[in-house]
Structures are given as C-alpha cells and as structure tokens.
Amino acid sequence: MSQRMFKADGLVLRTRPLGEADRLVTLLTGEEGKFEAVAKGARKMKSKLAAGVDIFSYGHYTFHRGKTWPVITSQDSIEQFTWFRDNPQLYPYGIYMGELVDRLVSGEEPCTSTFNLLLEGWRLLGSCDDSYIICRSFELKLAHLAGYSPHFHSCSACGTAGASKFSPRQGGMLCTHCASADVISIDKGTIAIVERLISAPLSQAHLIRLSAGQKKTLSRLTSAFLAYHLDLGDIKSRTLLKEYNT
C-alpha cells in the first residue's frame, strides 16, 4: 500500500461513526489484509457511499491515502448479503463470524484464505438452513488457518491410543490417566464430525446431522478451543448469538 491511490476488493467487518457525518470502516481484503478507512459523509442520506460501506458489504473500493486513515473515494458493490438485514435470526451469526475474523487478523498482511472463508461463510448463511453447523465449521476452519487444529488420534500427553476426553488447553485428547479437570467427554461419532467439519468444504457442513448431545459437546469444544488457542478475548457478539439460540 505504498501508492497514494490504491484499489482493493473488501468485506466490511464493522463500522463506527466518525465526526459529524463520516464513518470509520474496518475492511478485510485478501491482499492488503485488514485496515480502517474513512468513508466521508457516509452517514448522510444522499451519500453515494452509504450503502456500500455498511457492515456486510462486499465491494470494490478505491482509496486515497489520508493523513491518518485511507479515505474511500469510490465504491462499487459486488455483493450485499441482504439476508442479514432481512432475517434477524441470521444477523448474529454474520456479526459473530465477522468479529472472529476481525479479532484474528491483526493488520495489513495478505490473508486471502481467511478472506475467502469469511466470504463463503456469509454467503452460505444466506443459502443454508443450518446456520449452527456452518458457524461451528467456520470456527474450526478459522482456527485451522491460524495453525491450530484439535488432535484426536492419541493422548496428547502420553501418546496412548483410544483417549476419550478432550482437553481444550492441550488442544487434543487425553487418556483417563492424564485427564485434568477441564476436559470435555467426547464420543467417537462427535470426533468424526469435528474432523469432517475441518476437512470437508464449508459448503458441505450443512449435510451433517447432529443430535442434541453432539451439538452441546461441539459448542463446548469449539468455544473452549478457540478461547484458549486463538486468544481472541471477549467476543461480544457471542452473547447475542446465545440469546437468539435460547
């Protein structure tokens, strides 16, 4: 990003009001990574930028390097993910995925895989019925892209085969001898599901059917695994997501 003017295709992760009528937009792009840019006058009704810099926008943006932040000089919408506006049940899922990515990607470094994962995740939420499983698969794939995947084949501490407890702290299974207090009991069926959620394309996650017990285990596992290994801090949108799911 050394030129005075530059262009990028980006996803809007979040926005916040800036000054009288501007918006400060957090964008995720494949090649330039994550950065903030100013959309001048975007809160005014007649602004031509307004719709294209709202959260859940995917567009082609042109920037001019400003003193503090790049300034968005024009935008062309590619996709709008309108289902997040129209369906209040999908909104917290979309926000949650965006917040996870926002916390994980730290700055202006290329992150094409993460960008593509979020783009696919937001698209799938609009077309698949099972938002829950899409979201769990998204979490696991995001952790995988960051270099963390749960280890299921043997005890992470002593190497014994056939371990049945999962330790979020160890990032893998523990046998009964090595198990600590914070382990999660997990059966072979759920392990197979987790492995499939990581390896299969995100678009096939909705084909997996879960029992109520497996859902509960999967939620505990992904939440604890992400919290421990990705160190994302307090994910604010998780509260709303839980509220919508109860």
């Binding site: 979040r14 916040r16 000054g19 009288e20 009704m45 007649k46 031509k48 307004a50 719709a51 294209g52 709202d54 959260i55 859940f56 919408s77 709008q80 309108t82 997040f84 506006r85 129209d86 369906n87 209040p88 909104y91 917290p92 926000i95 949650y96 917040e99 604010k236 949108s237 509260t239 709303l240 997501l241 509220e243």
Partner: protein, 199 residues
C-alpha cells in the same frame, strides 16, 4: 504549544464533544475568550439548565421537561399508532415533517453486538407493555436504514408477532433531489419494491 493552564483545561474539555478535535476545540476556546463574560455565563447556564431540566419520558423515552413528554400529553394525537425510533433526536426530525400525528417510542440505540448493545439495552420491554396496556393497533418502525437498524426492526417485529398488531417499516427509496445514476443497487431495488401507482 504551551497554553496557560485555564485555556488548556478549556480546550481539553471542549475536545470531549463529539466531532470536535484539538483544532476546533482551540477555535471554540478562543471564541469564548473573546465573548463578553455575560455571554459565556449564559452559554454555561444554558448547558446546565438543559442537563438539569430535561429528562426522558417514562412512557416513550422522548425528551421531556416534566414527567411525561409533550407527545404523550397531547390529547389530539392518534394514540393507536406508535412510531419506534432509535434516538430522541429522530423524534424531532419526524415532527418537522408535520405528517405524523401518532405517538413515539424511543429505543435509545439499535442492536449492535459489537458495541455490546443487545435487546436488554433497548427499551423493548416497555414497548411490549405499552402495546399490551393501551390497545395500540399499529407500530411503525423507523430505525435507521442500515444493518443494525434493519436487524432491530426484524427483532421488534418478531417480539410483537404474538400480540397480533400491525407492524410496519417506513419505506425505503431514493432521496428527493438525487440522481438515479448515483443511487446504489440496494436502495434502487428497495425503491422498486416499494413503488406505488400514480393516481
């Protein structure tokens, strides 16, 4: 720059206003220094009086001088219709149109999980109570036409669905005086959806 201590304090205080940076704060501070003392006192008094005398209506959440606001106290208003807005200033903007004669309900925000604003932070319980208590027949949702506003509108519609009342959303469309050429696809498609016959 070495300011005299009282000037520095004034600039720092003015910097707390939204949209006011150090340069603007400095300009405002020098304006106040140039003003006669009485004028500075009247500006300060107006701020304190507004803070002390204004409150929020316990019924609708609009700005009020006493317990109930002028809208809830106005017997001429249509009490079967309530317009839901995000902020008290939105009430003033809608009043300026002169088109709406119903009551209001101010949420004091919109659903924004990233800013820690969930349903509990909005005045939604009071809205449901009002609908149950006072025979309201229509709720017009006039939250901002952005993602947070739309999500809030959808949430309210779901909340009120069991109460079997009419819930409407203000129309979306092109701003008056604008050129279609510059309209974005989302606004245009919503304007097409909301088209109406010319009579």
């Amino acid at each position: 720059m070495a300011y005299p201590a009282p000037l520095k304090k004034l600039v720092d205080v003015l910097c707390r206003f939204p949209g006011v940076g150090p340069k603007s704060a400095q300009r405002l501070a020098f304006f106040l220094l140039r003003c006669p003392r009485e004028e500075v006192v009247s500006i300060a008094r107006a701020m304190v009086e507004a803070k002390d005398q204004l409150t929020f209506c316990p019924d609708c959440g609009s700005l009020a001088e006493k317990e109930a606001c002028i809208y809830c106290n106005d017997s001429e208003r249509d009490r079967l219709m309530v317009c839901v807005v995000q902020e008290p200033r939105d009430v003033l903007v809608l009043e300026k149109t002169g088109q709406y004669r119903g009551l209001y309900h101010v949420l004091h925000g919109a659903l924004s999980p990233l800013d820690g604003v969930g349903p509990d932070e909005l005045k939604l319980d009071r809205l449901v109570d009002r609908v149950k208590e006072s025979g309201i027949q229509e709720i017009i949702i006039a939250t901002n036409p952005n993602v947070e506003g739309d999500a809030t509108a959808g949430y309210i519609a779901g909340l009120l669905r069991p109460l079997s009342i009419r819930v409407t959303r203000i129309a979306f469309g092109l701003p008056v005086g604008g050129d279609i050429e510059y309209a974005d696809e989302l606004t245009l498609s919503r304007a097409l959806d909301g088209r109406r016959e010319i009579t």
